[in-house]
């Protein structure tokens, strides 16, 4: 009954099969283990190398923190996770992962996993907010794509673009409180499109729990993230450390890119092991992202998502055009605008095609880490290595 054995993976049948393996895998597999650990390291390094190389200026690959780059990042994460689980659990006496120092390191890792779940949810909600930006941009594109271009269309575009830009620049704790309901109409100014849309984006993005902060969450995940030293470095502590680092990095990158609740203070501090070979590509990526972050910090940024950044630039330029527009328009200007509108339309298309699948990928990440966590917990529980759970 295959279906039921899957369901029982964590219980009796799962235990029984692990016990059988225990008998089989005695000495002689130590070398195999070492090889597995080294391979895991190498694969992690390779994967992040790939991700890094696609972001260089001259490559035709995905730009850093673009939708497609993030999607690849998520894919690579899933690959790392699968390999990690195999290294830790397959063909191995399960009680091994309950021995010191793993009996402390593994629960710490699982705690980080739980924290990452809220990040997944926050980022998914943030992508919904990006969809709203996409919609505003689409309005502008639709309006400016008409010929002849008249006052009406330009005004329409201006309204949408002003909203778009305002939404992208507002900080989380901006004074744009209140929802649609609370604005008083009597005091509206004609050009309140700005505050209109600020409210729009804010209230359109469903918020997480009160006091929840993505930045704080990431920082909490970073605590106790220390490379194993000495004898520990050759055992299973190493892959746990590597996987923890990968997990934190991926979450950090997502939060840097996507608008979510309370990113302020995410900062650029990220304790990566400078001396370890496998971490070098990740370190380079981290430095690049940190640079981007610094550039935008003053203005306040809602997310470094590459498409959003380009959208903002284009939006600003088009708003300038819209503000100085007079009918009838000059042709050279029009040609320039046309190009920009096309580019904006292209970005919208990328978002249209990529945001939803990205949300699904994040959901997949959610499932995977939950499932792995459950499996680890079963083994740890059986070894009596877990303190009584608070929850």
């Amino acid at each position: 009954m295959p279906a039921t054995t899957e369901n029982n993976q964590g219980s009796f049948l799962g235990r029984i099969s692990i016990r059988r393996n225990q008998v089989l895998s005695m000495d002689g597999t130590h070398d195999q283990e070492m090889e597995d650990l080294e391979l895991f390291q190498k694969h992690v390094a390779d994967r992040f190398s790939e991700l890094l190389s696609s972001t260089t200026e001259d490559s035709s690959g995905d730009a850093l923190l673009s939708i497609s780059w993030l999607r690849r990042l998520l894919d690579e994460f899933l690959c790392c996770e699968a390999e990690f689980k195999a290294v830790m659990l397959m063909g191995r006496d399960p009680s091994q992962i309950a021995k010191p120092p793993l009996d402390k390191l593994l629960p710490e890792f699982l705690d980080r996993v739980v924290k990452s779940l809220d990040i997944c949810n926050a980022v998914t909600l943030g992508l919904d907010a990006v969809k709203n930006l996409q919609r505003l941009a689409e309005i502008a594109v639709a309006a400016l794509d008409t010929t002849p271009l008249g006052d009406g269309q330009v005004r329409r575009a201006k309204k949408a673009l002003a909203g778009l830009i305002a939404a992208m620049l507002h900080e989380d704790n901006a004074n744009a409180k209140g929802t649609e309901r609370n604005r008083s109409f009597g005091r509206r100014s004609g050009n309140n499109a700005g505050s209109n849309s600020k409210d729009r984006v804010r209230s359109l993005s469903w918020t997480m729990a009160r006091n929840w902060s993505a930045a704080k969450q990431i920082h909490a995940m970073m605590s106790n993230l220390n490379a194993p030293r000495g004898a520990e470095a050759s055992g299973l502590a190493q892959p746990i450390y590597i996987m923890s680092t990968v997990l934190v990095f991926v979450m950090w990158a997502l939060v840097a890119a996507v608008p979510c609740q309370e990113r302020n203070g995410l900062g650029t501090h990220f304790p990566l092991p400078r001396q370890l070979a496998w971490a070098q590509p990740m370190i380079s990526l981290q430095e690049k992202i940190a640079e981007e972050w610094k550039k935008k910090e003053k203005k306040g940024n809602v997310g470094l998502l590459e498409e959003m950044q380009r959208m903002e630039k284009l939006g600003q330029s088009l708003v300038d055009f819209a503000e100085s527009f007079q009918f009838p328009p000059e042709t050279e200007r029009l040609d320039e605008v046309k190009k920009q509108v096309e580019e904006l339309g292209e970005i919208c298309k990328r978002m249209d095609e990529g945001l939803e699948p990205m949300q699904q990928q994040i959901r997949e990440v959610f499932h995977r880490v939950v499932r792995s966590r459950t499996e680890f917990l079963v083994v740890l529980d059986q070894a009596g290595k877990l303190s009584a759970p608070t929850v």
């Binding site: 369901n7 029982n8 235990r15 009406g152 309901r181 729009r200 993005s205 917990l377 529980d381 929850v391």
Partner: protein, 607 residues
């Protein structure tokens, strides 16, 4: 039927209401005022739109349409905002909500609570649960038919206006603006309704940190709120979208509906999701089953409300959560079985009475039998049992072939009882006194039997065959006890070894006889003193065992006295040797297993 307006007039009307141009236009809302004014405006818009399709479109018309659309957008927003009354859960709550099933009453339900009470009380509380269960038909109330009840969130004249506006906005290509405004206003309204329903925004981390008892309350409230949310709140929002947007362009009602409820729906389900991934421990089983049942009951409604392609992810997520809850239940049952097997306490229970583990486990099993409908669906594989499988002597054996006919859940219950006994057997070995060890086993197995007999569901699930085995076991323990204690006592009262051939006495060795009496007295006194403190909580069992002891002891003593008392009484200080009359012995037996000490000084036989 109004006559069509001349284009110029239409343009004038549009311009008059340009809010960027005049203070007056800003301060008033068309649709909040005179009905005719609104109709006129709409007519003007229609006229402008009509003229757009003519061959040459003037710049003025182009401009006018944008002004009109901007205005309509504001009007649309305003109408929506004036009709966002948060949903009142007190009036909308389902009247058919029957008694809460037993699980949602508070702490007495918790298997731990009976461990310190005596049998009677725990019996009563279990009975209370059973009668409640019967009254509210536990599982059927959670499986009642879908009852979606939409309400009208916005009065129909406002809906009509909204629809009029939407039609014009969409046909002018301003669909996106429309969706944007609609979504943001209605979403705020849903947010407010959520607050009224008491739905909290808790992160997964928050849920993991809370005490389970607090979570039980939250689960209870969530179940109530979720039903209202899905069946009334979301369903009504959907209806509203249909009322306003149905037929106005393609799938706009779906888009607006998702704009409105996607976030809230995810927030709602996030709590159930967080519960489904919480660390597994036995006491969580029943609330998780409650959550599972509630979500199962809601699934058809969820499927109906979220039936469009764009809302597929929500349906999928709900199904995933349901599946996880089922997995959690399975995992917890497995955890529970482990915990029973490995329960490590070695301090022997004083007096050999019922071990708290026994009480806990039997209460737990009893609760399981209450949830058997759901659990029978979830538990699909039988336990893989026995040391034959694993080579581990720390696991008892159970021959599953005897239980071919039984459901996997039933077999699990039997397995749990097997493990419990196994554990208890181990604990019994910590008693220094072998008799007490047997008594302990007897007491506890008897307790198990009584619990099973006392519950029709349990009895049916465990089956009479196994019940018979259990009965045999405690009877066996009783016999073992008797052998361990009384063989040597009765040995003192045997005939052999007392007679000698020849000599002056009538063939009885007086010294040997005196020894016998002394030994008997000492032994009996010790046994009496020791075992009075032992406890058999069940009065009937206590009585039976005493009777069984008496049946062997008293006739033997009576006969011994009868045959040999004269020899003692003819010598000096008979009272040193014959300490008990038969009646005194009979009375002394009544002291056994009372759990209270007797005074050290036994009444001597009165001279």
């Amino acid at each position: 039927m109004m006559e069509s307006l001349p284009l110029e007039t239409a343009e004038k009307i549009i311009l008059r209401w340009d809010s960027t141009a005049s203070e007056d236009a800003r301060d008033k809302m068309i649709f909040a005022g005179d009905r005719d004014e609104a109709d006129l405006y709409l007519q003007a818009v229609d006229e402008i739109q009509r003229s757009l399709s003519s061959v040459s479109v003037s710049e003025k018309v182009n401009s006018a349409i944008q002004i009109a659309m901007a205005r309509l957008e504001d009007e649309f927003r305003n109408i929506l905002i004036s009709h966002t009354n948060p949903f009142d859960p007190t009036t909308e709550d389902e009247p058919s909500q029957t008694l809460d099933p037993p699980s949602s009453s508070s702490s007495p339900r918790h298997p731990h609570n009976d461990s310190d009470e005596n049998d009677e009380v725990s019996q009563t509380s279990l009975l209370r649960f059973h009668s409640e269960g019967a009254a509210s038909s536990v599982n059927s109330s959670y499986r009642s038919n879908s009852c979606i009840r939409e309400i009208d969130l916005i009065p129909s004249d406002a809906v009509y206006d909204l629809r009029c506006i939407a039609e014009r906005m969409v046909s002018s290509g301003y669909l996106r603006e429309c969706i944007q405004v609609y979504g943001s206003v209605r979403k705020s309204s849903v947010d407010a309704s959520f607050r009224k329903l008491g739905i909290e925004k808790l992160s997964i981390g928050d849920v993991q940190r809370l005490e389970w008892e607090q979570l039980e309350n939250k689960i209870r409230r969530w179940i109530r709120a979720a039903k209202v949310c899905v069946r009334t709140l979301f369903a009504s929002e959907k209806k509203l979208c249909e009322q306003i947007f149905d037929g106005v362009g393609t799938a706009i009602d779906d888009a607006c509906f998702m704009e409105t409820v996607k976030g809230p729906a995810i927030q709602l389900f996030n709590f159930a999701e967080a519960i489904s991934i919480s660390r597994r421990s036995p006491e969580k089983l029943f609330k998780i089953l409650d959550l599972h049942d509630a979500l199962t009951e809601l699934m058809p409604d969820i499927d109906i409300v979220f039936d469009s392609k764009s809302s597929e992810s929500i349906r999928v997520q709900a199904a995933e959560i349901l599946s996880r809850l089922g997995e959690a239940a399975r995992g917890i049952l497995s955890e529970f079985e482990n915990a029973v097997l490995r329960e490590p306490s070695r301090v022997p229970v004083p007096g050999g009475t019922i071990h708290p583990l026994t009480r806990y486990v039997m209460n737990y099993i009893s609760l399981i039998s209450d949830y058997k409908v759901t659990l029978n669906e979830l538990i699909v594989s039988k336990p893989s049992t026995g040391s034959r499988y694993s080579g581990d002597p720390g696991i008892p054996d159970l021959d599953l072939s005897e239980f071919e006919e039984k459901t996997p859940l039933d077999v699990h219950l039997i397995w749990i009882i097997v493990i419990l006994q196994f554990n208890l057997d181990g604990k019994s070995k910590h008693y220094k006194d072998a008799s007490l060890a047997h008594l302990f086993v007897m007491n506890n197995v008897h307790y198990i039997v009584q619990k099973v007999r006392g519950s029709p569901e349990l009895r049916e699930m465990i089956g009479d065959d196994y019940l018979k085995k259990l009965t045999g076991k405690f009877r066996q323990a009783a016999t073992s006890y008797q052998r361990a204690t009384w063989v040597r006592v009765l040995y003192c009262l045997r005939d052999e070894g007392l007679h000698v051939s020849g000599g002056f006495s009538s063939g009885v060795s007086k010294s040997a006889l005196r020894e016998r009496f002394k030994t008997f007295n000492a032994m009996f006194e010790e046994v009496h003193r020791t075992q009075a403190v032992w406890l058999i909580p069940d009065s009937q069992l206590r009585e039976e065992l005493r009777i069984s002891i008496s049946e062997k002891l008293i006739p033997a003593y009576r006969s011994f006295l009868g045959r040999f008392r004269s020899h003692i009484e003819s010598a000096r200080h008979p009272e040193n040797y014959i300490k008990y009359s038969v009646e005194e012995l009979e009375d002394a037996v009544l002291d056994f297993f009372e759990g209270t000490p007797v005074s050290q000084h036994l009444r001597r036989r009165s001279e």
